[in-house]
């Protein structure tokens, strides 16, 4: 059996996905009100560390980016920078109705309404705000996707970079951002 054989790559993928699934380091970028749902999720009441979910301090170390609520255009700029600093494989979880369709900020002059136009989102968690149970269900869903190899938001982002960039530049007129070469 060759090392670069397709079948052996499959076995490696299964092992790697199993490890990734059980070790999700989250970067809780505290946007909006959803950040307040993270402490109960992580501490002794709901204890997300059972699932291997654990906080990471910097984007370099993180696997999952949590967008916890509405995003103003000003914050979106920072979130894009954070997302592009993260290392592959990386996943995005969108919290609450604000990231899905704008939620209660649907007619605000400076909040975006659909997060997946600007960043590839793997899992949306519905609710305003989602309870910690819903957050844990979202993590379980993400684990399922990772195990099946379907959580490929980062690949989607790389392949359709022009589309995402065009959308991002539409709401961020002065695009003064460093170019990352991943």
């Amino acid at each position: 059996m060759m090392i670069n054989d397709k079948n052996s790559q499959k076995i490696v993928d299964i092992i790697q996905n199993y490890a990734r699934k059980h070790s999700l380091w989250i970067l809780a970028y505290g946007t909006g009100c959803g950040a307040i749902e993270i402490p109960p999720t992580m501490t002794s009441r709901y204890d997300a560390e059972r699932l291997g979910v654990r906080g990471a301090a910097t984007p370099r170390q993180a696997d999952v980016l949590l967008i916890t609520g509405y995003l103003t255009t000003k914050t979106l700029k920072r979130v894009i920078r954070v997302y592009e600093q993260m290392q592959d494989p990386k996943y995005v979880i969108g919290f609450g109705s604000c990231t899905i369709n704008g939620g209660m900020y649907w007619d605000s002059y400076n909040t975006i309404k659909a997060l997946d136009r600007y960043l590839p989102v793997d899992v949306f968690i519905n609710g305003c705000m989602p309870r910690p149970e819903a957050v844990l269900a979202g993590f379980a869903k993400l684990q399922e996707l990772i195990q099946a190899g379907k959580a490929d938001g980062a690949r989607k982002y790389k392949e359709n970079l022009e589309w995402y960039r065009a959308n991002q530049k539409k709401v961020i007129p002065n695009w003064r951002m460093p170019e990352y070469n991943w």
């Binding site: 255009t73 700029k77 369709n101 007619d107 002059y109 975006i112 309404k113 659909a114 709401v171 007129p173």
Partner: protein
């Protein structure tokens, strides 16, 4: 309390002839002055009468009267009385005197008002941008700024949320949950 309030009104009215007072219950007194008097009356309130604390500076857009109303709220920690100082600024040419030499924190409020309402404060030293970044439209808190149209034009909206149907009865039928009577009064 009442004596203190009447002394305050007396002193202000003797010093500033254009001040008209309006009395509120409890510990609140309101004055309306011309916009040129604002720095003088605030100086007087702070230095002579012990209103050391600037609680807030607020702005109201009176679109129909073509004027902005700027409200300064000051608080006296010794007398436990708050004084509201109202003034009116022309909406077409909104220029006001800068008061951040009296209270340093007024700078922040003035920057916010400059950004959100477009009121220019003469001699305000601050960077142009405050809360909004790369904002190119008109000041967004003015009432003639159509927020909804701007949001619809700028941000993509996921289809599906525009039909705001009343689905409470459907839910009632499906889940057997009984809605209270008062809830049926309110419809979309």
């Amino acid at each position: 309390m009442e004596e203190i309030k009447s002394t305050i009104i007396q002193r202000i009215k003797t010093h500033f002839s254009d001040a008209t007072e309006k009395e509120y219950p409890y510990n609140r007194v309101d004055f309306s002055v011309k916009k040129e008097t604002i720095p003088a009356i605030l100086f007087y309130l702070k230095d002579e009468m012990g209103f050391k604390h600037l609680s807030h500076i607020s702005c109201i857009d009176w679109l129909e009267e073509n004027e902005f109303e700027v409200v300064f709220i000051v608080w006296s920690p010794t007398d436990k009385i708050k004084v509201f100082v109202h003034t009116r600024v022309d909406r077409e040419n909104p220029v006001m005197d800068n008061v951040d030499m009296i209270w340093r924190q007024a700078n922040t409020y003035e920057r916010e008002m400059r950004e959100m309402f477009g009121i220019q404060f003469t001699g305000l030293e601050a960077p142009e941008e405050f809360l909004l970044e790369d904002w190119e439209g008109p000041p967004p808190m003015r009432r003639d700024f159509d927020t909804e149209a701007y949001a619809t034009n700028t941000y993509w909206e996921r289809p599906g949320r525009e039909d705001a149907k009343d689905i409470r009865e459907t839910i009632e039928k499906r889940s057997g949950e009984i809605l209270p009577d008062f809830a049926k009064k309110y419809t979309r």
